[in-house]
């Protein structure tokens, strides 16, 4: 069991981040129903699930889904099955439409992302979710940096990024126009290093692919066909944290879809990608 902050000590940076995320999750659950969450089994959304268990005193009170392209690494599926049982999650697998169903003019990484976008659209339509909780962070990618904690989406799932609502202090826009939904981003302010320090402090399980094997490890975990391991000797969580303090590689360097064109990621996100 993690050591809690003592009753008199000032809060640490991780305590403050955790408290803000708990507030956001409770705010979403209070004001937006039905609510669901996406879980990619990556380090971020797994840490977020852990925080959700804290926010809701031990159980996650909404369904969690993987947008499943069938292309995740076997280790990822095994990790999922273990945690679903361990944490008693209401897990609903969402099979994404096949690659043949998406725009063939997109580059390969974009096609995989488009499958997930379509999968998410179908999931939201079927479950009638008014809110989706996601584990994205500002420091991952420059367009994510400009997103809101409560981010309204149009009825077709697209992101009206030119005209986002204000949010200040702890006041967010917690409603959408009919047919639209809200993306809720409780980890938006966290950085990659924060996530790993928190994972270490709380002893949160994580997928073994993040650890280096034969001089390579996954820094960002995606489909096996479009995500590649990066050179690294970090074979423990301590080594990962040490590596992040010195690296000049961007986190998503191993993600093909980000780099296909200058606006590749913006177009994906404007169209409804996470």
């Amino acid at each position: 069991m993690p050591v809690p902050p003592s009753d008199s000590r000032a809060m640490t940076e991780l305590d403050i981040l955790e408290a803000e995320s708990i507030f956001i999750l409770r705010e979403a659950y209070r004001r937006i129903r039905p609510l669901g969450m996406l879980w990619s089994m990556g380090k971020d959304s797994t840490a977020l699930l852990w925080i959700a268990r804290k926010a809701f005193l031990g159980t996650v009170p909404f369904p969690v889904s993987l947008l499943d392209t069938g292309m995740e690494y076997p280790e990822v599926y095994a990790f999922r099955d273990r945690l679903v049982a361990l944490w008693g999650l209401d897990y609903r697998n969402e099979a994404c439409p096949p690659e043949s169903a998406v725009d063939p003019s997109l580059p390969p990484g974009g096609r995989a992302a488009a499958r997930k976008t379509e999968g998410l659209r179908a999931l939201i339509a079927r479950e009638r979710w008014k809110g989706v909780v996601l584990g994205i962070r500002r420091d991952e990618q420059a367009t994510r940096a400009k997103d809101r904690v409560f981010s309204p989406r149009d009825p077709d799932g697209s992101w009206p990024f030119r005209d986002q609502p204000p949010e200040f202090w702890r006041y967010h826009q917690t409603e959408t126009v009919d047919g639209g939904h809200l993306r809720v981003h409780p980890l938006l302010h966290w950085t990659e290093a924060d996530i790993w320090r928190y994972t270490r402090r709380e002893n949160i399980p994580f997928c073994p692919l993040y650890l280096a094997r034969d001089g390579k490890r996954f820094r960002s975990l995606g489909e096996s066909n479009i995500t590649f391991p990066v050179p690294s000797e970090a074979s423990s969580i301590d080594a990962i944290i040490a590596e992040l303090e010195t690296t000049r590689q961007s986190e998503r360097a191993g993600r093909a879809m980000d780099h296909e064109t200058e606006d590749a990621f913006e177009r994906l996100r404007a169209g409804g990608y996470m």
Partner: protein
């Protein structure tokens, strides 16, 4: 040491995004390949390398060379880590600037050396002061455009100092910079030899956090969760501390209870400090709802029906006196009316003017009247600042400057529903949808519920399937398509009744899950599905209208339960089992549920 969030504000084109990117570049925080990526993006547009593209990630921002929305990046100085919030300077995006600046602990205000203090510089300074930022560091930028002249710097600096003082914002120091080339950001500048002061980053490193003041305890109840048989009040310790054994007063009722437990998962706790999100259990079954505030018995928050506030208005639609809003303060929502616009600040002069409306980006002194008492503080932050919502959209925010005391609110019980509800402006109603097999007891339960609510003084109306078929749905038969349409129309009508403020009670077999989901979608957030359960044998035995007998005899086809399916609700909001309960007991279960809803929703 914790990360310090800093917002960079100022007029459009004075160089904010470039300054932030240059600090990152010079302090070694560019990822590998990022500079080359920016070089390529600039070449495609036929321009020299544009550092601001690091932050201006949107194509539109790059093509028009303007920041639209705030972004955040991180860097570390020799002393500590910073989160830099790059706010847009254009007047069209003030709401995005506010969204970024509200999270900051201090500001960098950027002023173009040649252009000097502009209207937007003044507006940002005013907003920074209103957002409660204690201090700002000033960069007089583009010194190359004034030939690195000390006299030009001094002239701009003295104008800035005068402006900041008028805006009510402390100035931590003024630095001459050329952001594009990095002069006096991370490193000093050989081109500005007359300047002997700190670089911008050194100036930031010298800022000290204001001494944290000891404030009275405020526990903002965010929600009420059930854990086994326990009711746990979850919420934020906004200030002070919470410990087991402490006696708390809950506002607005001012009822008191003692803390029996501090709840965190997974660890056990006995106390919590300011900033923590926790749960508490108390020793008495008080009626507590989200938005209530717990405090020590001495020095509770103020209860107020009239408040005066400094307001920033962010919506494209103007505000007028007598407009109605929802005011969110802490975790509490309350209906308010804008009773007066006393004055609006003229940004060009900081003089105040009278006005009969608020336009986007106006800063004004206003009076608000609340229907139920607001729970506020004038000192401290969490309960002194608020946001206004209209039609679910966030339209403005501000800080309270005065509040008129109001008496404590009497704890509410069922028999005060009527006056409560009438007092409120256009309280939305909701739909109570009873679904179940024919003769399961839906209509009877609906009528009983309506009668009890009438005694409580609550306006309710029963939409009964049989009755609707004689009028509104008289053109529909019993084909599957017509049945589905019957449910659809009933759902739409129920949603309209709810919108008009009534409790719409629907009694309808509505056998198909999809049809009911559509009815729920017609009244999103205001729809409660009640599964009225009885076994087929019980229903058939009741057979009030002899329909089961006729169906069994083959006179009625596609009869739900006999030769047409009934899809029971997968996750109903309430189950009333009329096999187990007699009618009286079933009606009581339903009535309790709806009364609890009325309390929770008010």
């Amino acid at each position: 040491m914790n990360t310090v969030p800093i917002v960079v504000a100022g007029h459009v084109d004075h160089g904010k995004s470039t300054l932030v990117a240059r600090i990152l570049l010079d302090s070694g925080h560019f990822a590998d390949g990022k500079y080359e990526e920016l070089l390529a993006a600039a070449r495609r547009r036929g321009i020299a390398v544009e550092l601001s593209f690091l932050l201006d990630a949107f194509q539109l921002e790059r093509d028009q060379a303007v920041t639209i929305d705030a972004t955040r990046v991180w860097f570390a100085s020799p002393r500590r880590r910073y989160e830099i919030i790059d706010a847009p300077g254009h007047v069209a995006f003030v709401r995005h600037m506010v969204s970024g600046a509200a999270d900051a602990a201090a500001a960098v205000l950027l002023v173009d050396a040649a252009e000097g203090v502009s209207e937007q510089t003044r507006r940002h300074a005013l907003l920074l002061a209103l957002l409660g930022l204690p201090t700002c560091a000033v960069a007089v930028n583009k010194m190359d455009a004034v030939a690195f002249s000390e006299a030009a710097f001094r002239a701009t600096a003295s104008a800035v100092v005068a402006m900041l003082s008028a805006a009510g914002l402390a100035c931590a120091g003024i630095v001459p910079t050329v952001a594009r080339d990095g002069d006096n950001l991370v490193r000093g500048s050989a081109r500005l030899p007359w300047y002997g002061g700190p670089t911008l980053v050194e100036l930031l490193d010298a800022l000290e956090a204001p001494e944290a003041r000891e404030r009275p305890t405020r526990f903002l109840v965010h929600d009420v969760y059930r854990r086994g048989d326990e009711r746990v009040l979850v919420g934020s310790v906004a200030s002070g501390r919470i410990a087991e054994g402490m006696t708390l007063a809950f506002s607005p009722s001012r009822e008191t209870a003692t803390v029996t437990g501090v709840v965190r998962f997974p660890e056990a706790r006995h106390a919590a400090v300011a900033g923590e999100e926790i749960g508490i259990t108390i020793d008495r079954p008080l009626f507590i709802e989200p938005g209530d505030v717990a405090s020590e018995l001495i020095g509770p928050p103020t209860l107020a029906r009239h408040v005066e506030a400094d307001l920033f208005w962010l919506d494209a639609e103007p505000a007028h006196a007598q407009d109605a809003f929802v005011l969110r303060c802490g975790t509490r929502d309350g209906a308010v009316t804008l009773t007066a616009i006393r004055s609006v600040v003229d940004v060009a002069t900081f003089a105040t003017d009278t006005a009969d409306r608020l336009a986007r980006n106006d800063v004004a002194d206003v009076v608000l009247h609340a229907v139920r008492p607001l729970v506020v503080d004038l000192e401290g932050s969490a309960l002194a600042r608020f946001a206004l919502y209209r039609g679910g959209r966030i339209v403005g925010g501000g800080r309270l400057r005065a509040a008129t005391n109001a008496p404590a609110e009497r704890p509410r019980s069922a028999n005060v529903f009527a006056s409560e509800r009438r007092a409120r402006t256009r309280e939305p109603g909701f739909v109570v949808w009873l679904t179940g097999l024919p003769c399961s007891g839906k209509s009877t339960l609906a009528e009983r519920l309506a009668a009890t609510l009438a005694e409580d003084g609550v306006d309710a109306y029963v939409l009964d399937g049989d009755r609707l078929r004689t009028g509104l749905n008289g053109d529909l038969g019993f084909s599957l398509a017509d049945r589905s349409e019957n449910v659809r129309r009933t759902g739409e009508v129920a949603a309209l009744f709810a919108d008009a403020g009534l409790v719409a009670i629907v009694a309808l077999v509505s056998p198909m899950r999809d049809d009911r989901a559509r009815a729920r979608a017609a009244a999103p957030g205001h729809f409660y599905e009640i599964a009225v359960q009885a076994t087929l044998a019980t229903c058939e035995r009741r057979d009030v209208k002899g329909l089961y007998r006729r169906a069994r005899a083959g006179e009625l086809r596609d009869f739900t339960g006999i030769d047409s399916p009934y899809e029971a609700p997968a996750a109903p909001d309430l189950v009333v089992d009329t096999d187990v309960h007699d009618l009286e007991a079933g009606a009581a279960v339903l009535t309790d549920f709806v009364r609890a809803l009325l309390l929770r929703r008010s």
